[in-house]
């Protein structure tokens, strides 16, 4: 029984956390949005209650503190920046605890204690006041020094702006040094209430000092919001149904099998009919319709497991802000493409790699404030996280305006580690590849924050497992951008089925640039390096798929077969196959689920007749081809 309560709570908490995260970021932009503050309060209140039911006292306690903060904000109608930061830290902490199963706070106890102390110490709302002070002429006679009072003020808040009242000061001739002509207009940020501020001046006030205090609007944010805007940014509430993920997966599986059986049925039926000499047109039409409907069904079912990336982006944003605060850096996070959808599974797998890249950017990429100011950069760094669709893929970009990656430094380190020959010159992309080697780090010291056992190599592995790519773009002194390309879903790809000997392989369509018959182009053999083929202006390395996968081909020379020109980032490779069978959508099934790790294989698919076709990892093909030939597949201007 208890286990059920726990899993229900976890699910509910995850949903509420997601809503909290989204709306917290919106509240930062509009801190007086009462409705949103209410929503935040309700969410944390629900989590608190649920935690109580599930017996998770630690979680309940944390939620309770956050609830208090929100309650105050609710009655004030205002979320101060300090409150906002507490909420970010608190919610990030809750998220970590729940995601990692640390329900009793064993791992995160100290983090929570620290945060709680901060909240207890702070915890009051910061306001901004406009204060007018004017000291009477006999102020000095009373032994009062106005400066002491201003100092007292600045101990209890921050003087944002101060301007003297010049009007009272007479010209030098008439100035009596025993008299006080001083007065100021002050913009003052403090947690104090108005009457507490007045107390600072209690004595001199009775002596006739003018102390006028009024609340100023928070000067940083633009408060005006048209009704249309207000409507548009209303917290999102959707009609939903809760479905167990496992159920969805089973449905997805059934639909994929349905697609397969349908295509098998079609082939067998058409085959039979042809052999019986019957006209296939009508039946073909029917099958086509069946295929259309099945495909629509498949797309709809797949879209149920498609989830907008927004929540992940917001979590990245929160983590960035929290981490920057810890490191004493100022960062501004720009998000775009929150509505971009991807497969839930892909999101699960890409979360950690993206977190690591963001951690890296804040920890190593972005310089400390003084260094930034010294080099003419704004003290506040910018982190840009973008998600968008492109060519049937999801692109996720994480860019910073930090110090960039120095290719010379990377190259030097690679040479020092013996990873590359002293006198080799490499392209920029090749140099960046070293960053993804386990244990390779150009940071001067590995900090605990980003060195927690997740390296860029793990990021690369994760991305590869998802059939994706990573690209790095960087300029020293300007910044670094990581660009990750992921398939929309892991389940289905557009591909080209090819045959080598008795075996079948599927190449994902995005990796194919063209296919050609080799005999129409000139092929050269470069001694000791292998073959290249000249396609229009470029020389592209040529390899036989049969050589790479170890399967006999009916052609003895690669150039006798059909060539499929593959692309991996900037590099190209012409792969010889026996035959191109067809091009269609293939259901991707996991190979490593039952086999364990399979190097160079991203998955497999089942063909109409029940046989299996391997989907090779494109970069693996490049690797093997260049290893065998000694070529760097990419030197497209020949050697």
């Amino acid at each position: 029984m208890k286990k059920d309560v726990l899993s229900i709570f976890l699910q509910e908490a995850a949903e509420n956390l997601a809503i909290l995260e989204e709306n917290l970021m919106e509240v930062e932009k509009s801190p007086t949005d009462r409705e949103r503050i209410h929503l935040l309060f309700r969410c944390i209140h629900t989590i608190k209650g649920g935690a109580g039911f599930a017996g998770l006292d630690e979680i309940k306690e944390i939620a309770h503190e956050l609830e208090n903060i929100l309650d105050k904000a609710r009655s004030e109608g205002f979320v101060a920046s300090e409150t906002f930061r507490f909420l970010v830290s608190g919610i990030t902490l809750l998220r970590k605890m729940l995601d990692e199963g640390d329900y009793e706070g064993r791992i995160y106890r100290s983090d929570w204690n620290r945060l709680r102390q901060q909240i207890r110490k702070g915890g009051r709302i910061c306001r901004v006041y406009r204060i007018r002070l004017s000291f009477p002429e006999h102020t000095f006679e009373t032994g009062t020094d106005p400066l002491f009072l201003l100092e007292e003020m600045s101990e209890k808040g921050s003087i944002l702006q101060i301007e003297p009242e010049w009007g009272r000061i007479p010209n030098l001739f008439h100035l009596d040094p025993h008299l006080c002509y001083l007065g100021w207009n002050i913009l003052f940020k403090t947690e104090m209430e108005e009457k507490e501020i007045k107390e600072v001046f209690e004595f001199i006030h009775e002596h006739g000092a003018v102390v006028e205090i009024e609340r100023a609007e928070t000067e940083e944010k633009d408060k005006t919001e048209s009704p249309a805007q207000a409507y548009a940014s209303k917290p999102a509430v959707q009609e939903t149904i809760r479905v167990e993920v496992v159920k969805l997966e089973r449905i997805l599986n059934h639909v994929s099998d349905l697609m397969m059986v349908q295509s098998l049925l079609r082939e067998r039926t058409l085959d039979l009919m042809e052999r019986a000499g019957r006209d296939v047109d009508e039946v073909e039409d029917a099958f086509r319709e069946l295929e259309t409907i099945t495909r629509m069904l498949q797309e709809e079912v797949m879209s149920t497991s498609m989830v907008p990336i927004g929540n992940l982006l917001v979590r990245l944003q929160m983590m960035a802000i929290d981490l920057a605060k810890e490191l004493g850096k100022e960062v501004r996070v720009e998000l775009s493409g929150k509505d971009t959808e991807l497969d839930r599974k892909v999101i699960e797998q890409i979360t950690d790699p993206l977190m690591h890249i963001v951690r890296n950017a804040i920890d190593h990429g972005i310089e400390p404030m003084e260094a930034r100011v010294r080099s003419g950069k704004p003290a506040t760094a910018t982190l840009r996280i973008r998600a968008y669709h492109q060519e049937g893929h999801v692109m996720i970009e994480i860019g910073d305006d930090g110090k960039g990656i120095d290719p010379q430094q990377v190259l030097a380190k690679a040479k020092a580690k013996g990873l590359v020959d002293e006198h080799r010159t490499l392209s920029l992309q090749e140099i960046y590849q070293f960053l993804f080697i386990p244990g390779f780090s150009t940071a001067e010291h590995v900090t605990d924050i980003s060195g927690r056992g997740v390296g860029l190599d793990v990021v690369m592995t994760n991305v590869r497992n998802l059939h994706g790519h990573i690209e790095v773009q960087s300029e020293v002194g300007v910044g670094t951008t990581f660009r990750i390309k992921l398939p929309l879903t892991m389940a289905i790809i557009d591909g080209m089925l090819v045959r080598v000997g008795e075996e079948f392989y599927v190449f994902p369509l995005p990796a194919i640039t063209e296919f050609i018959k080799a005999k129409h182009y000139s092929v050269h053999t470069v001694t000791g390096s292998g073959k290249v083929i000249r396609v229009r202006e470029n020389w592209i390395p040529l390899a036989a798929l049969s050589d790479i996968v170890g399967v006999p081909s009916r052609f003895s020379r690669p150039e006798d077969g059909v060539l499929v020109v593959l692309r991996d980032g900037e590099r190209k490779l012409a792969v010889a196959v026996d035959e191109i069978v067809n091009q269609k959508q293939f259901v991707v099934k996991s190979v490593q689920e039952n086999l364990g790790h399979a190097r160079g294989v991203t998955g497999a698919t089942v063909l109409g007749d029940g046989s299996v076709a391997i989907i090779p990892e494109i970069s693996y093909l490049f690797e093997v081809a260049s290893a065998r030939s000694g070529f760097q597949a990419g030197d497209s201007d020949g050697c």
């Binding site: 599986n253 994929s256 099998d257 008795e502 075996e503 079948f504 790479i548 996968v549 170890g550 399967v551 099934k589 996991s590 190979v591 689920e593 039952n594 086999l595 364990g596 399979a598 190097r599 160079g600 294989v601 998955g603 497999a604 089942v606 029940g610 046989s611 299996v612 076709a613 391997i614």
Partner: protein, 141 residues
């Protein structure tokens, strides 16, 4: 996995020898079909097949035990096993019957991949040690 109590084993022939696997781990026995070759796997992995919506590897005991190779015939089967959370297949030349094994008849051995030998009806049956390590081609120790 040594026989406990009265275990039941499915027995099958490979290259004239008789082998057995615990009945609990047998999911199904299917007719042999062509496997898809896959690179970067141990040599005793024959290839991949499609089985009930999943892609599963098929192992060749012949290769594992370094017995001479032979082409599949009419009676060749693939024994589908459940090992831990993985589903795998194993090639057998011919399937035989299910035997019941009493612990006293069983003699544990330390031969690679074979957990015990027993005598049943005048014949030696080698009980295969079906575990993850075996799948990787590693010895039991």
């Amino acid at each position: 996995m040594v026989a406990e109590k009265n275990g039941q084993y499915v027995t099958f022939e490979i290259h004239g020898g008789i082998y057995g696997v615990p009945i609990e781990s047998v999911q199904e026995i299917i007719r042999y079909r062509r496997v898809a070759q896959i690179y970067n796997t141990p040599s005793h992995v024959e290839g991949l097949i499609h089985y009930r919506g999943k892609i599963i590897p098929v192992f060749s005991i012949r290769k594992l035990l370094r017995l001479p190779e032979s082409a599949p015939g009419k009676s060749t089967v693939i024994i589908v096993l459940r090992v831990g959370d993985k589903t795998v297949g194993m090639i057998g030349d011919r399937v035989r019957h299910i035997i019941r094994v009493a612990p006293e008849d069983v003699e544990p051995v330390h031969r690679s991949f074979i957990s015990a030998i027993l005598k049943a009806d005048d014949q030696l049956v080698m009980l295969l040690d079906v575990s993850d390590k075996w799948l990787e081609g590693k010895d039991r120790d």
